[in-house]
């Protein structure tokens, strides 16, 4: 993306190793987590998933010592978390929770600045970092820095929660069902934002979810748990194509082919070129370009864009040059959107084509229902080949 969005200094990601960790709560008949061993490579997203009570959140909280394991060892870049003072350890691990937990008496800026302040960063560095993060999550610092959490929507709050967790550039991030308290549309947007962020700033992420679709979409590695035990740990494609046993197969669900659509993103498809026309282009020159074969209208319409290439509206050929209407382009899909979400959006809008945009909102092409269903012939095989 833009150069200003790149973080200062090289982003860090650590290797996270869980070695045979168990946890039994006092008075409990069985272990909440039993002999869990798991290695998350640097920069990978590992989703812990399973039915409620399977021990996924307990496992997550043992990494930053909010819960102490009864036995076993947890290492970050080879150093046992037990050798660190809990407060120091936690300042180096990003933490995002479902309830968000922004401090309501502090501004957005102060919330994001929390950990850098605890670490004693100089003021200008905190200011620069907070501004950079706010732009990264799509909240303009000038407008939002001095707002309070109560003045933000649920989705914006969780964005700030994400920025706060990233503030001190921690090598490891823990995310406990971060997007499950928001509505489905906001959730999808947050997931896409997170994926884009993660691509720019790779972190080792442990992500707890109860939603298999979310797991397949977000994960490099899915760890399915049940009754405190790890049942299967595999990349999403492998989980879908070769579930280890009937429990995993049931958990993944019968519609595995359809779920495979979550493994492929729009940017993995060959997109159809969009008939783009910059706003204000004279009708005459549009017709000339069409005559020259440089522009092929779609269903006798062209897509009018603003000066930065962002789609504004569809315009029928016979109405070229008329003033802008209010009709919005729907759906507009970020290119990191999974085929599954894209298909849902197309059906939702009742549209045959969706406009695909990059992180800055500029149009990069079109995607049709046909192109998506065409990929159904083997999305799993395709993503394994990629």
């Amino acid at each position: 993306m833009t150069a200003s969005a790149a973080p200062a200094g090289a982003p860090r990601a650590g290797v996270l190793e869980l070695r045979g960790i168990s946890k039994r709560y006092r008075g409990a008949p069985r272990d909440a987590v039993a002999e869990l061993s798991l290695t998350v490579p640097a920069g990978a997203v590992c989703v812990l998933i399973g039915p409620s009570g399977c021990g996924k959140t307990t496992a997550l909280k043992m990494v930053n010592r909010l819960i102490e394991p009864s036995s076993g060892e947890i290492l970050i870049d080879g150093v046992s978390v037990r050798d660190r003072r809990p407060a120091d350890l936690r300042r180096e691990i990003g933490y995002v929770i479902q309830q968000v937990g922004l401090l309501p008496h502090l501004t957005v800026f102060a919330n994001i600045a929390t950990v850098p302040k605890l670490l004693g960063w100089p003021k200008d560095r905190i200011r620069t970092r907070a501004d950079e993060l706010m732009r990264l999550i799509g909240l303009e610092p000038e407008e939002y820095a001095h707002r309070y959490p109560a003045e933000l929507s649920g989705g914006q709050q969780q964005r700030v929660g994400l920025a706060r967790a990233l503030a001190a550039d921690p090598p490891v991030m823990l995310m406990d069902e971060p997007f499950s308290a928001v509505d489905p549309i906001t959730r999808e947007r947050l997931q896409n934002d997170f994926l884009r962020l993660h691509r720019q700033v790779p972190k080792t992420v442990v992500f707890v979810s109860h939603d298999i679709d979310e797991a397949v979409k977000m994960a490099d590695l899915v760890a399915v748990m049940d009754g405190g035990r790890l049942i299967q740990c595999a990349p999403p494609a492998e989980l879908l194509s070769a579930p280890a046993n009937s429990f995993v197969a049931d958990f993944v669900g019968a519609d595995r082919t359809l779920k495979g659509l979550s493994l492929v993103r729009l940017e993995d498809l060959e997109l159809a070129p969009a008939p783009l026309v910059a706003e204000g282009t004279p009708a005459e020159s549009v017709r000339e370009r069409i005559a020259a074969g440089a522009l092929r209208p779609l269903e006798d319409a062209v897509l009018v864009t603003d000066e930065r290439g962002r789609p504004r509206y569809w315009r029928a050929m016979d109405r070229l040059g008329e003033p802008a209407g209010t009709a919005r382009v729907e759906p507009v899909l970020d290119r990191v959107t999974t085929l599954r979400d894209a298909l849902a959006a197309l059906f939702e809008a009742g549209a045959a084509y969706g406009v695909v945009v990059d992180g800055d909102g500029a149009c990069v092409g079109l995607v049709g229902v046909d192109a998506i269903t065409g990929s159904l012939r083997g999305p799993v095989a395709r993503s394994e080949a990629a």
Partner: protein
């Protein structure tokens, strides 16, 4: 009886209303400071030490509020001597429960998500208390302090019956001499003082409540702050 008569009674060098007013204010202030320190401390401890302790402490505090202050004063006199000492003890005992109960409730009702996030970001337990829980409980604690202050100022007049100075001296003297002007020269300033203190603390509460919390309260009308009056 006339306003001028009341004013003259208040300024009578034998009664010395200004001096009594000053004693009244000083005594109330001392009691309020002590009650706040004790109430907040006990409230925090109760909120932090689990359900059972919290229940016991708030039950005792609630019970304490039902004991008539006059009985408390009598008890304090019986246990020590007459004068300012037992009056202060009685006023503190009266002032502690509202502060304690509100501090307890305030800390208990702090959003668990905020506390967990703070711990997860590396706040030490003391920092969680000082920078998350107490600021978020502040509006409720302040309401408790305001309630205490009004009760203390109004009740300090009773101290005169056990030998303490204060505006109560004028009230008692007025009663004993069947002189309404003297009685009112004590009673009116007491009432005005209570009103003024209540108003001042309400203003301070508004000014000291962080803006973010006021907004959060406004956006969640169902969870209004309770006053313990």
């Amino acid at each position: 009886m006339s306003p001028a008569g009341i004013w003259d009674a208040f300024n009578d060098p034998n009664l010395d209303g200004w001096h009594q007013l000053w004693i009244h204010v000083r005594l109330s202030l001392e009691a309020l400071v002590l009650a706040t320190v004790i109430g907040v401390t006990l409230g925090v401890v109760a909120a932090k030490t689990g359900r059972v302790t919290g229940f016991v402490v708030s039950a005792v505090a609630n019970l304490g509020r039902t004991i008539p202050t006059f009985a408390l004063l009598a008890l304090a006199v019986a246990l020590s001597t007459i004068g300012e000492g037992p009056t202060l003890v009685g006023l503190v005992a009266l002032g502690v429960p509202p502060v304690l109960l509100n501090a307890h409730t305030g800390i208990r009702e702090v959003d668990r998500g905020a506390v967990e996030a703070a711990r997860g970001m590396g706040f030490t337990p003391l920092a969680v208390l000082g920078r998350v829980e107490l600021p978020m409980a502040l509006p409720l604690v302040f309401t408790g302090i305001r309630v205490s202050a009004i009760q203390i100022v109004a009740t300090a007049a009773l101290g005169a019956s056990v030998g303490a100075n204060g505006l109560g001296v004028l009230i008692l003297s007025g009663l004993a001499n069947a002189d309404d002007e003297i009685l009112l020269a004590g009673a009116i300033p007491t009432a005005l003082l209570a009103l003024a203190v209540g108003g001042m603390l309400a203003l301070a509460e508004r000014l000291l409540t962080p803006r973010g919390l006021r907004l959060a309260r406004a956006s969640r009308p169902t969870k209004t702050m309770r006053s313990t009056t």
